[in-house]
Amino acid sequence: MAEPVRSPPSPRLEMRMGHRRLIPFNVAIALPAQLTVLTVVLVPTAIVVWLSFTDWQPTQGIPWYQAEPVWFWNYYDLFHDARFVAAVLRTLLIVAVCVVVEFLLAMSLALLFLDDWPWRKIAISIIILPMMVVPVDAANAFFMLFNDRGPINYLISIIVGRQFEFAWLADPNWALLPIMLAEIWQWTPLMFLLVLTGLMNLPENQIRAAYVLGASRTRIVLRIMLPLLTPVIIIALLVRSVETFKIFDPVYILTRGGPGAATETISMFMYNGAFVYFRIGYIAAAALMILVVVAAICVNLSRPLKRHHR
């Protein structure tokens, strides 16, 4: 007698251990990765959320999980902390200035480098060098440049024809300038690479057609290239905005947030809060608030991307 025909194996692969079915196979292979992600992302986030509701400091001598809750007081205090609010606004100013300048410079350079010309590749290599420098070293270079007896003052002395000694880093009205210049110098190359890559991948037919139909170069750039480049530009702006929001190295090296708190950015504020004041709970609350702000900025900036995608 022929054996009964067995039904073919289910398309859903299943994991068996002995004879007991535990979990579907597809779940089993995804689970370790998911658990890792959960552990790496969610657990610390949950801890930060918990800490933000406490006033825990390691100097209290109790473990963080035994900290006494203060609920929303940290958030209330942050809203009334003039130094925190000023740091957020200052950081937003730095983001706005740096990202816009970086974009304008990058766009101009990218258009210049779109056509092939001799030594182009070498020139590109030289242009992207700054972003390969360790940020602390770059900041140190700017510290030397803007020192009271540094090359910047020396150059100005030559131009104005008399001894010029100005403490750039100690003047509350000017100290942000060297910081922003350091940031722009180091990260314009990244923006340039992103924009150049985008430009090089634009469909050539439309541009050629416009050229044949007699459109000027400016018109081609404004009416065809820029709209087509929008997704790349948005991504570049997003990446740089988020990165610039976290600016730390130039501030730490050049001014440490001074004079007073005139150049204190949000990262510097958090560094001081966590590693000078040891106010971990308070800084956890600040970090979460900043996360919300940055997420909101990202969502708003990426809206055109969705429209473009549709």
């Binding site: 001598g61 130094r83 020192n147 007896r149 100690a170 509350p172 440490r256 004079p259 007073g260 590693f275």
Partner: protein, 491 residues
């Protein structure tokens, strides 16, 4: 929140705290003198090594020291002798000097046992104590510390928190003033100055005199500057701290109400701001080592510094070697007489980690390292941080050569009479608020009174958050350890 307490409990605890701490300093130091000493002072390093060897009992033991980068030259020579004497190996973990307290504090959270001994900056000891990472050394000291071990120490308050021993100071970081001797002795300059001010150029006794001399010598058009005093954020507060104390006030009253925004505080800040006009242009941006180099050029009348400053200025790298006059920190006239308030504001302190698996051996190493014989060897290192802190150090020929005799005379006196740093829990927070606001006032962003009012208000908040009763107890302990001659004159 945790800092809400009833009035009754506050008064009770404050009274107990006061009573305990009125007698604490003498008690702390003299109970030790009264107990039976296990090790002898003359041979404490030999005895400590022997006891450590016995404790190790032939097993392979390694001690790990967390130390600020740049201090290896001080530690290594004695660690090598320790190994030769005990067979116990020493490993080093070096961290940037401005991050060592954070690293020790992180250990309080992780308890990884990654080091047995650490050398945090002394001003951070209270935070480290309350975090639970430091071993209370009272019992071990009771067992091993020789009777007069700390007797020839010139500054010991940083070793204690609320009367208990937590470490041994190993660096004499008292502030000293440096002046260009040639400028002070110049007869022509002397005549001009005395015609204007009615007294001759000299090592200034008061801040008023110093400020007058800085203004007199400040001739930037001729490449000469009044001074190289610090105006960067990290350092600015220390000068103000001395200026303020020299006007006869404590920073807090007995109940930790800030007094810094009183008339004296505002005046001290106004004077500091006025003096800024006579400093070299890099004063507001140059850090520690840039400051050494700038003053070493020989075109600035005066500077503030520590033993480390002198080791640099007394080296081949400096143009002012042998051309300096030294003085204590200037003082002020309080109730008709001169009050000087030298200031100890940094220092490195040997402490034992509570996560150490061999705290007793680690303690014996700290006792060994700070013994008169071994600490002299450590202080001899010309490139290291450790400056003289025991009387014996000032007689050592190598140390005299490194620092010069005139400097050591002033340094020893400054160490002996130093007012203590603010050894409170939250010191970093108290001082950061002060620094930020002083600098904001110095660059004209805030009015002096406004800046100090803000500091006072923030200090109140910090004190409440840290637990007022506990802070009051420690503050009274600190106050009781101000040198007697100064304590009696501060309000």
């Amino acid at each position: 929140m945790s800092y809400r307490h009833s009035r009754r409990s506050f008064l009770t605890q404050a009274a107990l705290g006061t009573a305990a701490l009125t007698v604490a300093p003498s008690l702390v130091m003299s109970t030790r003198a009264a107990r039976a000493a296990k090790l002898s002072l003359e041979n404490v390093h030999v005895d400590a090594a022997r006891r450590a060897k016995e404790l190790a009992d032939g097993k392979p033991v390694t001690l790990t020291i967390l130390e600020p980068s740049g201090s290896l030259g001080n530690i290594k020579p004695i660690a090598e002798q320790w190994k030769a004497a005990t067979g116990i190996d020493i490993q080093y973990v070096e961290v940037p000097l401005d991050q060592i307290n954070q690293k020790v504090l992180l250990e309080a959270v992780s308890k990884s046992g990654s080091f047995d001994i650490a050398l945090p900056a002394s001003f951070g000891i209270p935070d480290l104590v309350t975090s639970g990472i430091l071993v209370n050394l009272d019992e071990l000291a009771e067992k091993y510390e020789p009777e007069a071990y700390q007797k020839d120490y010139l500054y010991t308050i940083a070793n204690y928190y609320k009367g208990s021993l937590y470490g041994y100071e190993t660096d004499g970081d008292a502030y000293v003033m440096f002046y260009l001797k040639d400028w002070l002795d110049d007869p022509e300059e002397n005549k001009k100055f005395s015609d204007k001010h009615g007294y001759k150029l000299k090592v200034p006794d008061t801040w008023e005199e110093l400020d007058a001399m800085m203004a007199f010598f400040h001739r930037p058009e001729r490449g000469r500057f009044g001074g190289a005093l610090y105006r960067t954020q990290y350092f600015i507060a220390w000068e103000w701290w001395v200026r303020f104390h020299a006007k006869g006030h404590y920073p807090f009253d007995d109940n930790m109400t800030p007094q810094i925004n009183n008339e004296a505080g505002v005046k001290a800040l106004e004077e500091l701001i006025a003096a800024s006009k006579f400093l070299y242009p890099g004063a507001r941006s140059n850090g520690l080592f840039e400051n050494f180099e700038a003053f070493g050029q020989g075109d600035k009348f005066c500077n503030i510094g520590w033993g480390g400053t002198q080791k640099f200025l007394n080296s081949d790298k400096s143009k002012v070697r042998g051309k300096l006059a030294f003085g204590p920190m200037p003082g002020g006239i309080v109730k008709g007489t001169l009050l000087k308030t030298p200031y100890f504001n940094w220092g490195w302190n040997y402490v034992v980690s509570s996560a150490s698996k061999q705290p007793e051996i680690a303690y014996l190493f700290t006792l060994y390292a700070c013994s008169p014989a071994m600490s002299t060897i450590a202080v001899r290192d010309v490139d290291g941080y450790f400056d003289p802190f025991r009387k014996a150090h000032y007689k050592d020929p190598q140390i005299i050569q490194n620092y010069s005799e005139p400097f050591l005379a002033v340094h020893e006196a400054a160490m002996r009479d130093s007012i203590p740093d603010l050894y409170l829990r939250g010191q970093g927070e108290y001082f950061d608020v002060l620094r930020v606001n002083l600098q904001a006032a110095d660059v004209g962003e805030k009015k002096p009174k406004e800046a100090l009012d803000e500091v006072a208000s923030k200090w109140d908040t910090i004190t409440r958050r840290m637990g007022k009763q506990s802070q009051v107890v420690q503050w009274r302990f600190i106050k009781s350890n101000y040198p007697e001659g100064i304590r009696n004159r501060l309000a």
